[in-house]
Symmetry: D2
Subunit: 341 residues, 4 copies
């Protein structure tokens, strides 16, 4: 931490900062400039840096406290320099590998899910997705089939060999989802559901952690740190759009933020162009853009009959359009030297 004193800070103010640092076990180093005095806090005693920074801010004459170290450790590139490769079943994410996760928004029936699974498998997808516990903004909307959906997904895996990804919406779902699925997805609105993060960390299976609608990259990595701190580093981050003033797309897909995040963390990052844009016509351009930018995979919604889907009809691709998408993905991957799957 660097404590920046304001231009009117007195010697007594400076001394008060030093005493506060002493009391908590920090060393200090004072540097008196022409217009400002700076105090460097030395050492990082155990406990809470944020709280200490806040406390210092209450001392008269303190203008600002600048943090020097990052607020996450295990997920940072300082902790591990090379990019991690995380596996969901046999599908690899990161370290030059990109995998495609595809399937319906929601598991509606066994027939619909199997149809989708076969179609995405045939087109070259590496994992199957499908919602069992749906987070819905209205209590009057369809909330998912729960465990029945999990059984259907497991059956689809048995038939197609595709590893299965599905969302846990609540701590009470974690164990259940872990029993059936190959990876647990945590939704954007749950990115800061800390109890759910911890439970998922404890469960130990691969986690797909979506970025919150209004989460900074730093907060996203701090959320991942909650999972990592439980000993689970099988984490794949997923950029799914942030909320901005622009409404022509449902959210604003932040690909530059994804790349900047990859410079900070060794964890692989994929993107979800379906939820980010909310429109099927934008899924192919954004998939290609995301992979060209260096994304480690893509999650795409595919439904055998989008016009009859129980939710998110607009953003789901038909099997035919997914096939076309995979063709273009293949061309792009070849040109860029990216390994699929």
């Amino acid at each position: 931490m660097i404590i920046i004193m304001d231009s009117k800070a007195t010697d007594a103010d400076i001394q008060a900062v030093i005493s506060a640092l002493d009391e908590r076990g920090y060393g200090h180093h004072v540097s008196r400039g022409v217009e400002r005095t700076l105090i460097g806090a030395i050492g990082t005693p155990d406990g809470e840096k944020q709280a200490m920074s806040d406390r210092l801010m209450t001392i008269p004459g303190v203008e600002r406290v600048v943090a020097i170290l990052r607020p996450y450790k295990l997920v940072s590139r300082e902790h591990q320099e090379e990019t991690s490769t995380v596996y969901i079943g046999t599908a690899a994410f990161g370290g030059g590998h990109a995998s495609i996760i595809a399937g319906p928004c929601t598991v509606e029936t066994e027939k619909q899910t199997l149809e989708a699974a076969r179609a995405v498998k045939a087109a070259g997808a590496h994992c199957l997705r499908g919602g069992a516990f749906k987070p819905r903004t209205s209590p009057y909307d369809f909330q998912g089939l729960g465990e029945d959906a999990l059984k259907i997904l497991a059956a689809a895996r048995d038939e197609t060999g595709l590893p299965v990804v599905t969302e846990a919406r609540d701590v009470r779902h974690v164990e259940l989802v872990a029993r059936y699925a190959d990876a647990i997805q945590l939704g954007a609105r749950n990115m800061q559901n800390y109890d759910l993060l911890k439970s998922t960390g404890e469960a130990g299976i691969p986690v797909i952690l979506k970025r919150g609608l209004s989460a900074t990259v730093e907060e996203w990595l701090k959320a991942a740190e909650y999972v990592a701190a439980e000993g689970n580093l099988n984490i794949i981050l997923c950029e799914r759009g942030i909320r901005t003033f622009e409404t022509i797309t449902r959210f604003t897909l932040d690909l530059a933020g994804m790349v900047a995040a990859k410079q900070e963390t060794h964890l692989p990052i994929i993107l979800d162009p379906s939820h980010a844009t909310g429109h099927h016509s934008l899924v192919q351009p954004m998939t290609l853009a995301g992979l060209a930018a260096g994304g480690d995979g893509v999650m795409v919604e595919v439904h055998p009959h989008p016009d009859r889907a129980l939710c998110d009809s607009i953003q789901q691709l038909t099997p035919r359009n997914f096939e076309k998408l995979m063709e273009r993905v293949g061309q792009l991957a070849a040109a860029l030297g990216l390994q699929l799957g």
Copy 2:
């Protein structure tokens, strides 16, 4: 719903929309204009309007679907015209009454909490707040004392008579919090934790529902509808700032949004200037502003020694500053004809 066809829509496209409406039990009314054909969907069959709207959007020639009805019912002014008055213990919120909730960010010790409780009681507060289960952005920060904190809060109520408000962070806390506290608070990051909303609705005690960092007023009211749909209408909404590009304050307190929300819902709305601004020097001006705008109460953080607090030192008022605040609040309330408590 109104379905707006694009300028190149064919008769077959229009017919496809009509068939889709028929199939789901809607009537229809076609209006052919010079530049666009509009189709009004008549009736509101049970089930999901959003899903139907999305499905219609997949039909060729459909440019846009405009919803006519609001996506929430029980909390709307269409359902109940007059503003509700909700009570936490004896403190009234709404319908011309405004109450002040005050206390420390976190319950740290019995001594600290009792000291805060006595001070805010003496200065005229109507409820006591204090965190037992703290949602923290970093796993390495202090997470609260849990049930011990609840016992301390109950003791503070016994001594001061102040009703007690505290946060439940997870479904597993709801029953526990309901046993000790007079109202359950749901945090901004949990506004769309749907399972928690339902549990809290079922618990039946008063709920303070904070607005999510990036939640629109519409989404906030839909979240409240989750609680209401379980039969619990003892809901107080709390504006606590939204996330914007501006960082001179921690969040952007949206007072105009609060007033606009009050035009939509009969539920009372309070504000939390401490979390919204993140700085003690902004708490008094924003408290006065919020009450002048028509807010039904305020939640303010007060700590006997902010410079030693375990979290949020910068935003907590000293007892002396809270006393000054309450004096100004009294003058304002008198001038505006607002009943405190």
Copy 3:
């Protein structure tokens, strides 16, 4: 400036920073911590701090450069501690005084403008506003009457005695507006029109500088610095809402940002609840809120017949509603010890 080196910076990297500082005339002070080396740049050679900071960022091993000093001078409280009082004619803004500016969005006819002027004068307003050069988002919308409008405004001043405020949209309007009006308004979309800022600074008459839709407080004050740098410190800032994801109001009125800005600058700040909210029903609550928060005045749109206005019908008050507003403003000002006019 403090240069924070990354954890892998070598001695050669550190030396490169020192050389770069030397070359530009800065002194330096190196502080080697356990995890990071910090380099303090000493002295502030003439020229561009931002450019220097950017250049240092290109040196390998530099993680971050933290600015110590504020990027504006003349408008800051470091330059002048006490709040300025700025006058438009006889109306005072700041230093315990708040004035009310009222009038139609646009000057449409002499009759309409005089009717509005008489009404706002009778209700107690201190200045008259009215648009002559309108910035419109569509080229097909009414763009204002230009110099004819300026003449009408001058006639209204002659009759009512109210000083007149109107907008200059372009450098070519500045001289003209200065000839007729008592203050020049610069619109939100022109906040970073630097040539216009300079021209207005040179013109020397009072300026109302609206905050840009997406301007941070820091950028707003830097824009004011452009005017001040030309020797004109008769600047009144005007908070008029920022663009956020929330659309229930047209913009998000940032009252906490206004108060935080007042802690940074000695310039008075008023608010424009009409444009910020876009709805007449929100004007009164936000006016009261803004004054309760410490605003130095309010600009309100009033039209004799809003239902016939050539623009912004929704947000303009009727004379009757403005009268009611002024009554409440009087009560509030009395309670808070605020001097009107």
Copy 4:
């Protein structure tokens, strides 16, 4: 327009809407539903739709007015279905062609500019950029060399054959810039400088119109309409990032918004990854992403010695890195069937 009456609207309210429509020359069509009455306004009398919509909103019982038609014409795909190809000199943008514009942020000296021009030419760029009139957020920063810079750019064109693009910051620069350059750039902060838009429209030479920091796609297209309405359809739009809460990049590059905008307009759209991200390490990934998404070109900052640049050191590429970028661009274009230049 569709006028949606609220659930309590009376027959008199409905009649008032009809009278207002009649008076202004609109036909009408009333549709009484179970919960709401809708009134369709028929015909589009000349004049201002937005003003009419606003006026209707002042009538009691009117809940909402929904616009049916887009607020821009000449630039829309309804007006022209196929994508336009716009030329700057010989460089083509749109219709399957993408061109690369490269050069320094600012023209500093003849030597620096020629060095940059030769380097980008050698690496395969199609146009040269360089700032003569710089919009700077601080009055104390370097503001550009003005006409001297224009002469240097012209000299660089003479030597390399690259067409030249440079910014006009003010109406007074338009004629001058048009005399020396092959295209006029309008900056993000000037996107709603309507007088500048008109002047540039009148000048008739190709225009690069950057998206405003907080402009919606709709507002961006309305700004382009200002240029088009003067008879100039040689418009290239440029996505350069919008302002959001995320600060790890300077702005948030909105590639999905770019693709959505291309569905609305026939104008070509390019991107500026240098200004959008603010960091050279993000320029290559975002260039590839933008072209993969369907962008019609890229504008990239290249400086012979970024560490000595007078501004924006961090985001400018070295000639060597630009060369690498162009290699990757070549591979990508080949894979996607995109014609460069």
